[in-house]
């Protein structure tokens, strides 16, 4: 019956569903972003994006300037943003400010560049679009799975008004939401049995930010679980998923391979591995020097846990399979983010938390959503602190850059203490997910046990 709904009807339905709550969430979310995008920026990361863009303008590719070392998708989007910047006449994306040298002793070009307000808008705009599209995709999936407009609206809000999501795309200018969008699209195609479409979507998600790679076991288990009685069909579908994904990978990476930059596109991974290579596994030492890169030291344990989650997924029955997929995805991401991550990393998990809350009725996970939203955002704030105001100070008369830089310098100690404190608090969101899922399972056992005995 659902299959009979055409895409025109989806748009019609969406227009019909534009109820006051949905409209309000959309407008409030947009208003917050419109204010934050131009005014608050972390120039350090943005400086890398504008430098990559200027590298392209100089006739070099995204990796040649060494300012870009992620997988290429965001680099391609940067190249489009740079093109738009030129069309719109953005001639100065940033400038070096000597105040940052003479006051703080900052050394690198990236540390001494303050990006212009126009550049802040230009490079964050694609991420705002991604936020809106992700909210729509999430809404549609929840509506599809529950046929409940209220739940779909709640999911929309849990994404679009999530402080962490807003922070990531509108302040930090990090592209985690792009990964979240295609992880979600891949999820949809997966539950619809469209493996040839799910594979490429999953690869786009992984090629944007690496984290959805942790879902591989769960996805394979889900496909096999759907075809428990006909293992050949299951394997055939896995083949479809993987081969279409590999084809997409080739499309994404072709120019990178042809220019011999494949290893550079994984530099983010190597550099993080190198930073913990040979480090002590002593937990006290690790906690003292805490960093997300340390998670790589737990890699064998992580893989084992991810496999166990996959086995749990495989054992699902037809009735609970799709919901178990959502819970498995939430658990897999929790495995990745239980060790205090860089604040924006868990953005990719937020849509699946929203699905767990609305589709799987795991209302306790509201608390986890709240903990991720607040703790990660405040942790990021303590890292970026008043530096977020450098663009306003440098390019408007509202603040004095010299005074601001001096204030940042004078309070360095305080910001470091705050950062460290929040780094430890970042354990809480992941632990809360584990706790609430465990509590839910225990309750269900008691209920089903009670029902049996009764």
């Amino acid at each position: 019956m659902e299959e009979a709904i055409t895409h025109r009807e989806v748009w019609k339905n969406l227009a019909r569903d534009m109820t006051l709550p949905l409209m309000s969430i959309l407008l409030v979310g947009l208003a917050i972003r419109v204010v934050l995008i131009p005014l608050f920026s972390f120039d350090y990361d943005l400086s890398f994006w504008i430098a990559t863009g200027q590298g392209l303008e100089g006739g070099r590719d995204i990796y040649e300037t060494s300012y870009y070392w992620y997988t290429p998708i965001w680099g391609y989007i940067l190249s489009i943003s740079t093109g738009f910047g030129n069309l719109l006449g953005l001639s100065v994306p940033g400038e070096l400010f000597t105040e940052l040298i003479t006051s703080t002793g900052a050394a690198t070009i990236m540390n001494t560049t303050v990006t212009t307000i126009s550049a802040n808008v230009l490079y964050k705009m694609p991420l705002m679009i991604v936020d809106i599209v992700t909210a729509w995709v999430l809404y549609s999936i929840v509506k599809h799975m529950t046929n409940d407009t209220n739940k779909a609206t709640i999911a929309f809000g849990l994404w679009f008004l999530c402080p962490l999501v807003i922070w990531s795309s509108s302040v930090a200018c990090m592209f985690d939401s792009l990964s979240a969008l295609f992880a979600l699209v891949g999820f949809f195609f997966l539950i619809k049995g469209e493996y040839i479409l799910s594979g490429p979507a999953f690869i786009i998600a992984v090629s944007s930010k690496f984290f959805p790679i942790c879902l591989l076991f769960v996805i394979l288990a889900y496909i096999l679980s759907k075809h428990k009685d006909e293992i050949r069909t299951g394997l055939k579908n896995i083949g479809k998923f993987l081969s279409s994904g590999l084809a997409m990978l080739l499309v994404i990476y072709l120019p990178v391979i042809l220019t011999g930059n494949l290893s550079r596109s994984f530099e983010f991974f190597y550099s993080r591995s190198e930073s913990v290579s040979g480090s002590s596994l002593d937990i006290i030492t690790m906690l003292r020097d805490i960093s997300y890169n340390q998670i790589l030291q737990f890699a064998p344990i992580l893989v084992l846990v991810l496999i166990l989650i996959g086995i749990w997924m495989y054992r699902s029955d037809a009735k609970s399979r799709d919901q178990n997929l959502i819970i498995s995805i939430v658990m897999s991401f929790t495995v990745m983010f239980i060790w205090p991550p860089t604040p924006t990393y868990p953005v990719v998990m937020i849509p699946f938390l929203a699905l767990a809350i609305t589709v799987c009725c795991r209302k306790d996970l509201y608390w986890s959503w709240l903990l991720f939203s607040v703790i990660m955002t405040v942790a990021a704030l303590s890292i970026f602190n008043l530096q977020l105001l450098y663009s306003i100070a440098a390019y408007t008369d509202l603040l004095d850059l010299g005074y601001l830089v001096e204030t940042v310098r004078a309070n360095e100690g305080l910001f470091m203490v705050l950062e460290r404190a929040f780094r430890y608090l970042e354990f809480l969101p992941g632990i809360s997910v584990v706790y609430f899922l465990y509590r839910h399972r225990k309750k269900n056992r008691i209920v089903s046990g009670g029902a049996t005995s009764g």
Partner: protein, 341 residues
Amino acid sequence: MDKRPFLILSVVFVAVIVVGQILAYAPVYKNSSDIWIHDDNDIGYSVTTNTSSAYTAVLFNNGDLYEIDQILIYFDARYPAQHTNSYLEDKIELTISELRLRNSPEVRIVDADEIRAEILSEISVNKYRTAILMMTGVFPDTIYDGSIDSPVIGWLEGGGVLYWIGDPIGMYYVSEGDKVLERHDGYGELFFGTSDDIVAQGELNYAVVPSEDIAIGSALNIHYNITSFGLDASRLDHFISIGYVKDGYDSLVLTKFHSGNGMIVIFGGDASSDAAPILAQVICSRLNYGSSVLHIEKGIVDKGTAIGRIDDIEGATDLYIYLGTPMVIHAKDFDLGQVRS
């Protein structure tokens, strides 16, 4: 629910990826610059680009001390260095890319034997038109063994130009296959005619006080402030210091070789990605220890050509034009003497 909306979304995104690939890998952007001399000897210049970018034209008096035809970057995987081979290869590749962006003279990577041959060849004909860039932090023993008879010392006496980044210059040399670097004391005397403590000893330092000639650095949009291996320029006779100073050590110094006609340029940090554009900017603007800035013009060019005119100023030798800020997307040095002739 129909899958088509999500399918369309995915197809649109793949199209975005393809457009991004084209913009990132096809030769989409074109930048160039040119100069000419007006009848009244004023200097005319043009900057052309299909981007929207800021440009700067800096009129220098660089004198007529050096004419460089080629830049040699030393790298030899057989000889140990202060960094791993892969690290150095990466930074050298990046530096070459930055040099070529600025229309540098021919750039070549040379090994320990080739660098010796080039140095000895210039000494033998007493003609010095090569600049050498050392990023390894250590000399190969083919050109330096700690003695005053080392080929590199003779070459500097004659008029060679040496750019050095990483570790105190002359402190280390190395033989093929060595496991450890040979340390030589007395490098201060050999290279600067004074004691070794003229070079900072490697403690990572970021200077905050602008140096005497910071205006030259600023004209080139260079703000280099690492003094780990900085130079105490106050003990030099002929120099410009265009970076920052900390504890008496200058981060970026161009100095005349103390007992000859050559020039040594010391960058106080290590070979790094950040240093590459700064190295290139210094090298390609043909700065030397006698350089001064005569005039600066800045402007914006938005998908077209900007044309400017600068008064003929006595002593002007070079017009260095660079496009893009904070990163340079095109630059070129024009030797006014050659243009006029």
